[in-house]
């Protein structure tokens, strides 16, 4: 454990909050007032008693020593996780003003910590390669192969149906598509779900939304239809594709894959963490940059509506851990393996490139995965510049620039970026693609912490 003495910043603590209400409630509790008997240990535990509305104060313990992320325990009845008390306690601790002194853990806290660490040890031992292989594949490889074949048949039927649907659309013309409305696409998407092709279903659903996205929608609809057609065709002829491209097609169509790439241990810098949510699911994306391997990787984690996804990695920390890549050409997605130490603050930054090199990199990435919307890129020495209704990131030392994507224009993060720059060059990490550049994190020209923009 290397946690000793390193306290997180308030931003990093608040990034753990499952939703904005908890974030707000937690920040109110991040003051000495309601807390008593609080303390922290060298082993990375923080505890305290929080006065609530009842007569008995809540007992709150947080274990930040665990490399797989902080663990929380609170006697309050809240179903939020972490609850506002745990957030408040961490904020108090992050404040570092002596409100949480080094101390011996009281019995109620020690009990839980010991139990927890005992369990964690046991689990690690069970996961280690020395232990016997898990019996999940007990039905035998033959059964698994048959299942996979049946599924592939269903996807093939779905893809063929979708091809028919696209051909009908083009036969009648896109101009008519505006009237047909959302319902037809929704129905087709439902058929793709039945065909167990989630990836196709998601793309179909997006097609339905395009006619409502303002001027120029026919071109966007046409492009996406064509790429969907390309994906269908890729699936129908997957046997004739190179193995890497076939893997990309399989994952784009929505077949499950496991991250079976070799584990890469590195000091992974957390560049960005942001959530997108629909009615059912919150998807969290975490961008990491390996300071030794120079690889950029994407972690995805999901939470049912209203609950925070499992992985929480505040921007600006560095994590000593193993990552395994998912299969597929040009695949940036990875899974988090073993963590060797809890994340700690760092001054390290990813190396940057120019706008011209950034678009070239996107173009090259399309060779491996033509369905790619963007690639992760760090731009060095760029200046946010207003350009008509929009913004662009202009090369400080040249005359090229990348437009900021329309979606990113309306986010508050853009203004943080502009304020940080003040007309001077900054380093910006983001996603660069055919719609433009989405800034996700920035660093000032001089020394300074990473500023999250999402």
């Amino acid at each position: 454990m290397t946690q000793q003495g390193v306290r997180w910043t308030a931003d990093q603590v608040l990034a753990l909050a499952p939703d904005t209400a908890s974030r707000k409630a937690g920040s109110k509790l991040g003051t000495a007032g309601p807390w008593s008997g609080s303390g922290s240990s060298d082993e990375g535990a923080v505890w305290g008693l929080c006065k609530g509305s009842g007569s008995r104060p809540y007992q709150t313990v947080v274990d930040i020593s665990d490399a797989s992320g902080p663990a929380y325990k609170c006697s309050c009845p809240s179903r939020k996780f972490p609850c506002k008390h745990a957030l408040g306690l961490l904020l108090l601790w992050a404040g570092g003003d002596g409100a949480v002194p080094r101390a011996e853990a009281p019995e109620w806290a020690e009990q839980w910590l010991t139990d927890r660490r005992g369990r964690a040890e046991g689990k690690r031992a069970a996961d280690s390669p020395a232990s016997p292989a898990s019996p999940s594949g007990s039905a035998g490889p033959e059964a698994a192969r048959r299942r996979a074949e049946r599924r592939a048949e269903r996807v093939t039927a779905g893809a063929a149906e979708l091809e028919q649907r696209l051909a009908d659309l083009l036969r009648g013309g896109l101009a008519a598509a505006e009237q047909s409305g959302y319902g037809l696409w929704e129905e087709t998407a439902a058929r793709m779900v039945d065909a167990q092709a989630q990836g196709l279903a998601a793309r179909v659903r997006e097609l339905g939304a395009i006619p409502g996205t303002g001027p120029g929608w026919p071109v966007r609809l046409l492009e996406e239809c064509a790429l969907l057609h390309l994906l269908d065709q890729g699936w129908l002829r997957r046997e004739r594709l190179p193995e890497d491209l076939a893997a990309t097609v399989r994952s784009r169509v929505g077949l499950p894959a496991s991250a079976d790439g070799p584990p890469v241990r590195d000091r992974w810098l957390v560049l960005a963490q942001y959530d997108t949510a629909d009615a059912r699911l919150t998807t969290r994306r975490v961008w990491l940059y390996g300071t030794d391997s120079h690889r950029t990787a994407l972690l995805l984690s999901y939470g049912a509506a209203g609950r925070a996804p499992e992985i929480a990695l505040p921007v600006g920390l560095v994590l000593d851990a193993e990552l395994s890549a998912y299969p597929g050409a040009g695949q940036v997605r990875a899974a988090l393996g073993e963590r060797f130490a809890p994340p700690v603050p760092t001054a390290a930054r990813p190396p940057g490139t120019t706008p011209a090199r950034a678009v070239a990199r996107y173009g090259e990435a399309l060779r491996d995965d033509p369905w790619l919307d963007s690639v992760p890129v760090t731009l060095d020495r760029v200046i946010p510049v207003p350009d008509g209704d929009g913004w662009q990131l202009a090369d400080a030392d040249g005359d090229t620039a990348l437009p900021v994507t329309p979606a990113a224009r309306s986010r508050p993060g853009l203004w943080r970026l502009v304020a940080l720059s003040g007309g001077a060059p900054v380093t910006v990490f983001g996603e660069c693609g055919h719609q433009g550049f989405t800034p996700l994190a920035a660093w000032p020209e001089g020394p300074g912490e990473a500023v999250p923009l999402c």
Binding site: G33, K51, D97, A167, V219, T400, L402, P412, A419, H434
Partner: protein, 542 residues
């Protein structure tokens, strides 16, 4: 990335346009180039579009850089200590409207502490962290009372930012010349150029800044272009002379009395009447003096009032508004304006050498007392006359001080404002000791923060009494909120005894004790938080 520069092949855009047109019309109506018409045409079209789409995306070129904004001016102030920067983030993340509302519990109201935090940070001269500027500007946008302090703290970069975002235009309007864009005293040509060529907001800022530095220079600058300014602009410019008003301004203001615009004339008259030695003030003293006299023929000397019978041209020129608002008699309306504009120091001479106290104590005949005293109050506020304010306020413990006497609470608050901070606090403390808290809110609002010790104790004692009386704390939520923000943090330890839940007296409202304990807890928490905030901002504590 512009699509027009995207193509590698110059012939491609045309081919692309052709594909798009075909797709829009449908292959039943139009056959794509190089395809056989028939059932396979849509698939062929999709194939061609797929190739073209990937090709277009892969061939993207960066766009041409637009014109770069001028860099933001340097902020020479030192950066915030890290702990204070974190605190600011927390205070700014506590935006109103995001909570569920309802009972406040024991947690402090962070947004309410922002004004104090800003004042402390400004007093210590720290620069705002650039990334916090958008949140700071948004907070100032929502709350006009925050604007001056927030914009001062936000500094030159915030003004630079505000030029780029229409949502923050208010910052350009409401910056009182604090921006470094205003030329300094060593740059007379810059001042002249900005005055001649600047936008209205820039010129107001320039004039305000100059006025606070060199009042005479600002007035002279204004005089150079006075005749050519538009009426609305003249009014705003004239208003900025309020700062540093002095006898030297009289000739200029006298000329403005003949202005074409009625509002400009009224403002000039108002400013002149605040100069007790001005000719206008003298004329008003004569007019007002003719209306008010002491009648010695009665049993007790009594003030008799003979309101003016007409509003002549001379009065109108001196800013008296002839037309009374609906529902007011025009004679009393004129009287009020005359008395308000007459120098207060002329009254003792006029009324038998009496002191202000004695004058205020005299009975007034025929129900004129309300009108007359109200006009004197307005005069005392306008002329910032502490002696008259004291006399009109009376003793804080006097029974009528609490009731709806001749002088309303709002007027009292304004009168208090003309007194020194210590005297103000003492008067309000005396008021609370006698009359309790129910009427004290407005008066507490004008007291200097943190409250002086006697005032703080008076408020805490009164809260304690209110609790013992068995009422609910939310009847006092206004005062409670003020106490959280204004009580001296060093008083926190004296409040510990109040945190316990008391035994419920028989006549108390059910559960009130628990709510009071909660309210006091919030008070103590907030005081501790304020102490921590100030600690974080002191350079030694960084």
């Amino acid at each position: 990335m512009s699509r027009t520069t995207a193509a590698v092949d110059p012939s491609l855009p045309d081919a692309w346009e052709d594909l798009v047109t075909t797709a829009l019309l449908g292959t039943d109506r139009r056959t794509p180039a190089g395809c056989v018409p028939g059932p396979e045409a849509p698939v062929a079209l999709l194939d061609a579009v797929a190739v073209a789409t990937v090709r277009r995306r892969a061939g993207l070129r960066p766009a041409r850089a637009a014109e770069r904004p001028r860099p933001a001016p340097e902020d020479p102030r030192p950066p915030l200590p890290p702990a204070a920067a974190r605190r600011l983030t927390l205070l700014l993340s506590d935006r109103p409207g995001t909570s569920g509302g309802g009972r406040r519990g024991t947690a402090p109201d962070l947004m309410e502490l922002l004004p104090q935090w800003l004042a402390a940070a400004n007093a210590r001269g720290f620069a705002a962290p650039p990334a916090a500027l958008p949140a700071l500007l948004d907070a100032a946008r929502g709350r006009t009372d925050l604007r001056p302090a927030a914009l001062r703290f936000a500094g030159p970069r915030a003004l630079w930012l505000a030029r780029l975002n229409p949502d923050w235009r208010f910052a350009l309007r409401s910056t009182p010349g604090g921006g470094t864009s205003v030329p300094g005293p060593d740059d007379p040509e810059g001042v002249e150029r900005l005055w001649q060529e600047g936008l209205f907001a820039e010129r107001v800022a320039l004039l305000t800044a100059l006025r606070s530095r060199e009042p005479a220079a600002a007035r002279d600058l204004l005089a150079t272009t006075w005749a050519t300014e538009r009426a609305e602009d003249r009014l705003m410019f004239l208003d900025s002379l309020r700062t540093g008003l002095g006898p030297d301004d009289e000739p200029f203001l006298e000329r403005a009395l003949a202005d074409r615009s009625r509002n400009v004339r009224a403002t000039a008259a108002e400013l002149l009447s605040a100069l007790p030695g001005s000719a206008l003030a003298e004329r008003m003293a004569v007019r007002a003096g003719a209306c008010v006299a002491v009648d010695h023929t009665r049993d007790v000397p009594t003030i008799v009032v003979e309101a003016p019978h007409e509003c002549d041209a001379g009065m109108e020129r001196d800013g008296v508004v002839a037309k009374a608002p609906a529902g007011r008699g025009e004679r009393s309306w004129w009287l009020g304006q005359l008395v308000e504009a007459a120098p207060l120091d002329s009254w003792p001479r006029r009324l038998g050498g009496r002191t202000p106290q004695e004058i205020v104590a005299l009975p007034v005949a025929d129900d004129w007392q309300g009108e007359l005293h109200a006009a004197w109050c307005r005069a005392a506020v306008r002329q910032r006359n502490a002696r008259w304010s004291r006399a009109l306020l009376g003793e804080p413990s006097a029974p009528e001080a609490g009731g709806p006497g001749a002088v309303s609470l709002a007027e009292r608050a304004k009168l208090l404002d003309t007194l020194g901070a210590a005297e103000r606090a003492e008067w309000v403390a005396g008021f609370i000791e006698t009359h309790g808290l129910s009427e004290a809110f407005q008066l507490l609002g004008v007291c200097a923060v943190p409250w002086a010790a006697p005032l703080g104790r008076a408020v805490v004692d009164a809260l304690n009494i209110a609790r013992d009386a068995g009422s609910y704390p939310w009847s006092f939520s206004g005062v409670m909120g003020l106490a959280e923000r204004c009580l001296d943090p060093s008083e926190a330890s004296r409040l510990d005894a109040l945190l316990a839940i008391p035994d419920e007296p028989e006549n108390a409202s059910p559960g009130a004790g628990g709510y009071w304990s909660e309210a006091f807890q919030r008070l103590v928490t907030t005081l501790r938080l304020r102490a921590a905030m100030l600690e974080e901002l002191s350079p030694a504590g960084a």
